[in-house]
């Protein structure tokens, strides 16, 4: 009797990811698809993908998708969710999308306590446009627009958006995870599942920040990228639960 331990989740379409080798988007996509399957919410879920590398997420998630402009995911999701309060609406956004151009939309949706979920990919760079400095780029980290490394005097400091959002009364659950090892990936899935569950329970805004390797723009091997996250990136962006108010609701 053969037992299947692991296979492609049902709501991940049978398409080859366009992502680079070792990119964390693929892992995170799979986790989201697994969670949607396990919670049995595919026929009432709507994904709002970003502009950025994950702009083509609609090619992968086998659910309804409504595309947003760069940074506007939280606003589009707000509109969808307010009209369809019993559907599960989530945005999938990168760090430039969330923490730079869409900061206002993000903070205010969170502050209104919109009952939506955000998967926030933090890879410290603008991937799709070719590796420019992101709001989350580490101090000293090289990018195409900080060729000598991020200099706080010139470029400011890495923005810890999740910690900022945790200060808002409207946010219920915020956790930072990474996808650098099987153990971390399992924790990441647990967090994503909890975030969706919070929306299903109508508790309010939930967010999972995923520290995600970008080997191409970091100019590192995939294995070294994971190590780099564990050793350096987590110093600025420590993983763990940042806020969990779900028990008090």
């Amino acid at each position: 009797m053969t037992e299947t331990i692991f296979k492609r989740p049902k709501y991940l379409k049978d398409a080859v990811f366009h992502y680079c080798p070792g990119c964390g988007h693929g892992i995170t996509h799979r986790l989201v698809a697994e969670v949607i399957e396990e919670l049995d919410i595919a026929d009432r879920s709507i994904c709002v993908p970003p502009a950025g590398c994950a702009v083509l997420a609609y090619d992968y998630f086998d659910i309804d998708v409504g595309e947003a402009a760069h940074g506007r995911g939280a606003a589009v999701a707000t509109g969808l969710k307010r009209v369809l309060p019993d559907r599960i609406v989530f945005t999938y956004q990168g760090d430039g999308d969330m923490a730079a151009i869409g900061t206002a939309e993000t903070i205010h949706a969170a502050n209104r306590g919109e009952n939506i979920t955000t998967i926030f990919i933090n890879n410290g760079t603008y991937g799709m446009t070719g590796g420019q400095m992101a709001p989350t780029t580490l101090v000293g980290q090289k990018s195409t627009t900080t060729p000598g490394g991020r200099d706080t005097k010139r470029d400011g400091n890495p923005l810890r958006l999740s910690e900022m959002l945790a200060l808002l009364d409207g946010t219920i659950y915020i956790e930072r995870v990474s996808v650098t090892s099987p153990k971390n990936i399992r924790a990441a899935k647990k967090a994503i599942k909890k975030a969706f569950q919070i929306q299903m329970d109508r508790l309010g805004y939930s967010l999972v920040e995923v520290l995600s390797p970008c080997p191409t723009n970091w100019k590192m091997s995939p294995v070294d990228s994971c190590k780099w996250i564990d050793e350096y990136m987590t110093k600025t962006f420590p993983i763990g639960v940042i806020k969990d108010n779900s028990e008090n609701k």
Binding site: T4, F6, G22, G24, V179, P182, I185, P222, V223
Partner: protein
């Protein structure tokens, strides 16, 4: 005991992009780089588990970290 834990992985070599994260996490060191290119132009990972003395336990760590969902895991 050995029978109970017998695992098996199936790597879809056309989905694999050769990031080799699977190789880095396999506790039994039974995944290696293939010698032949796939259609995407990568040397995919392949299982080197032997049928005579299978070491795979079906722990699925390789599949868990695979960014391209190229690995399926079974237990017989």
């Amino acid at each position: 005991m050995a029978d109970k834990n017998k695992g098996r992985i199936k790597i879809n070599s056309e989905l694999c992009k050769g990031c080799y994260l699977c190789i880095s996490v396999c506790p039994k060191h039974i995944i290696a780089v293939s010698e032949t290119l796939n259609h995407q132009g990568y040397y995919p990972s392949k299982s080197t588990d032997s049928s005579d003395d299978p070491k795979c336990t079906g722990c699925a760590m390789c599949a868990t970290i695979c960014p391209d969902v190229a690995i399926e895991v079974y237990r017989d």
